[in-house]
């Protein structure tokens, strides 16, 4: 089965209708068909986490989800979450702590950290390390990323109090 298949989904709040090849995965669809290149591809088999996006509110590996599986669902990417302000504290903390170098893993790292803080607003460092362990980074040595997530958690807590 290789004929293009129609899908309709929501991407960053907008309805998208497209004909997709059944074998194309969600990340390639976002990058090649929609030009949403903030979602990256690293390992292509669900290990490195660089392709992390949100699918109906849950983070998933975009390289392990076929585009056709996103039919009828809602996808959020770094572009949409940035525009909405959802990542403001995390983005500020990542910049302030230099929790990024080449930047290739960064959008996915932010989405994964965002998910953690949504579940657990005050994680300790061990919890942050554990939660982010599926997102590889080859540049920073991770330490500043842990710092940044801690700082962002405090900033969010402060903003709510």
């Amino acid at each position: 089965m290789i004929a293009p298949t129609p899908i309709t989904l929501t991407v960053n709040g907008e309805t998208v209708a497209a004909q997709v090849e059944p074998r194309i995965h969600l990340t390639d669809f976002l990058r090649e068909n929609l030009g949403l290149t903030g979602t990256h591809i690293g390992c292509e088999h669900g290990v490195c986490g660089a392709c992390t996006v949100r699918l109906d509110g849950e983070i998933v590996r975009g390289c392990l989800v076929l585009a056709v599986q996103a039919d009828g669902k809602s996808v959020e990417t770094i572009e949409g979450l940035s525009d909405s302000g959802a990542l403001d504290e995390l983005q500020a903390a990542f910049r302030d702590r230099n929790a990024l170098q080449c930047g290739y893993c960064t959008p996915a790292m932010l989405l994964t950290a965002h998910e953690l803080l949504a579940r657990n607003p005050t994680p300790d460092r061990a919890t942050i390390r554990e939660h982010l362990s599926g997102n590889y980074c080859r540049c920073t040595g991770y330490q500043a990323i842990i710092d940044a997530v801690e700082i962002a958690a405090r900033a969010r807590a402060g903003a709510k109090s």
């Binding site: 090849e21 940035s82 983005q91 990024l100 959008p107 390390r129 080859r138």
Partner: protein, 740 residues
Amino acid sequence: MTMQAIGKPHSRVDGRAKVTGGARYAAEFNQPDQLYAVVVGSTVGLGRILRIDAGAVAQMPGVRAVISHLNAPRLAYQPHKGGTDPANGERLHVLQDDQVRFYGQPVAVIVADSLDHAERAAAALAVSYAGETPVVDPLDAKVQPVAPQAGRAGADRSRGDADAAFAAAPVTVEASFDMARENHTPMEPHATIAAWSGDRLTLWSKSQFVVNEQAEIAAIFGMPAANVQVICPFVGGGFGTSLRTWPHVTLAAIAARQVGRPVKLVLTRRQMFHTTGHRPRTLQRVALGATTDGRLTSLIHEGSGETSRYEQFVEALTSTSGFMYSCPNVRTRYRLLPMDTGTPTFMRGPGEASGMYAVESAIDELSYKLGIDPVELRRRNEPAIDEAEKLPFSSRSLMQCYALGAERFGWASRDPRPRAMRDGRLLIGWGVASASYPCFFSPASARVRLLADGSAEVEAASSDMGPGTYTSMTQVAAETLSLPLDKVRFSLGRSDFPATPSHGGSQTMSSVGSAVRAACLAVQAELAKRAVADRRSQLFGASIDSVEWREGRLSRKGDAAAGPSYSELVTGAGGSPVEAGASAARDAAIAKQYSMHAFGAVFVEVSVDPDLGLVRLRRAVGAYGAGRIVNPKLATSQCIGGMVGGLGMALMERTALDPRDGRPVNAHMGDYLVPVNLDVPHLEAHFVEEQDPHVNPLGVKGLGEVALVGMAPAIANAVFHATGKRVRELPIRIENLLDV
């Protein structure tokens, strides 16, 4: 307002682009009417292509071209060797003949109207081979070591009589070391988008060296370099793998020309283990002789590294052994092991990291034989000068690094006996090692434009694979021009910008930084020259020697009143931007007067589970003497990242080859292990105050490489301290420690 841009922990200027997904990497410059190319790699490790059944695949949906040696254009492959290309041998000529030299060598490229169609066709392409068994194991008896032809790092060196001194020494250590092949494994795969317009070619291509990619592709296609443009504003990690122009870049350009449309080619992660270089596996022997009070009398360091059959990849495996220690009798020997593999390339801390692993391990071994603390042993053998070159060091802060690192680590409370320190059932080990890397400073150029609004645009070809070139160059320009950071826009990653050396060898800050500084001074000189000659200027008629720049204003010397600003001068002269370029290079005379290196000391604590053999890094402190630190925030991050690279080398990273066909068995990120967040404990990087007026005008030494060097031997030494077992191969794995 005195500007102090250099030395301040500014946040990176490219931060916003990178946290919003706005930074565009090579594969993200999709072109109108673009097609997709997928590489087909050889499934044998040596031999000849017998048949390629292109006909069936050409009929598959969406396929536009099936290109192999049978129908590829004969390319010029004119001679070209850039600074990162091996000096001896000849690069792979892709799709030019039926020979297979290593597993995964490109044998065809498929072009189709979608990535899916191209991948499907590539998977279906039937290629038959007359295969032979390749030689891929350096320990294979069929491997014939060769002495590298002339090159910077390859020469055998000797002073005194090291072998006689070793034979006569009262205390000796002799040990052999085997270090695994590593692949750089940056997060971003290699990618090239090629687009022809007539006889002009544009490449959006992942590169740490855009001007060399331009020159290499021009040479391969036999076209003027001016007709090739390489664009790469962001590199998603490199660590050396993007220093050379690998065959896929040529394939993208061939494909685009063949189909007459832009073509995007992204390597798969698996292909990243085939044709884009690797840190060579090395075999080393170290023999040390010492007096009973710990003075080195002999240092012998012999090593050999993998290379391909068609190029001699040479790295500085033994070069630090001549100057790290004071020792009258030193002999080094370096050989290459040509095998049926792709050519290795520089990987972070090349040569030095591998060579110092062996020597720093042996020095540690000697410390136990002598009963002398390993830090104290290094102090007793600290040289006053570079005894290999017989030159003073431009600066050398190794002992200060040891003092600072030992204090921050708490080294004084170490129990020197192996297996003496424990945490519950875990064995605890503390280890230490030295690090060093040369201070390169290669010719570089930059240009600066001052605009009517008083801001500056600065350009240099360069690259930023992550350390912060955008930010540090902005700082250098801001400081030199006395402008706030947000009035400077630094651009890089285009081959039509002023040429710079490779973004490798820890030389970007020194080389490009010095060029940016020189270009800022040049644009100031140009502006001053115009001002004193311009009737409309308040400085008209002043002699050029009577004016000076003070905090971004051109003022008369001795006159406290501030003169006109950049904006006023540019506007007054009509408003057109004022531009100047300049180059920088090391003074050849200085290079002959000083030995120039960065140094560091690395302290680590590991735990070893005696039942499982599992090693965990628990903490690490790196102390570095690296000259002036331009941005402490970015520099600290760069060092911690380097230390984690060394952690990978010590405990995880190893590319395993199938001896039957040379196939990298673990060619994916699931089985090529790299440190993840849970593997990394608390790490500290510190800098000793060091002023070096000789290395370059900025006094910087570079950090990227030295930060990785030293980590692996420190960990290996800590594993010995924890267990009493000396493992002499990297990475140290569970199976090495099942008997502790």
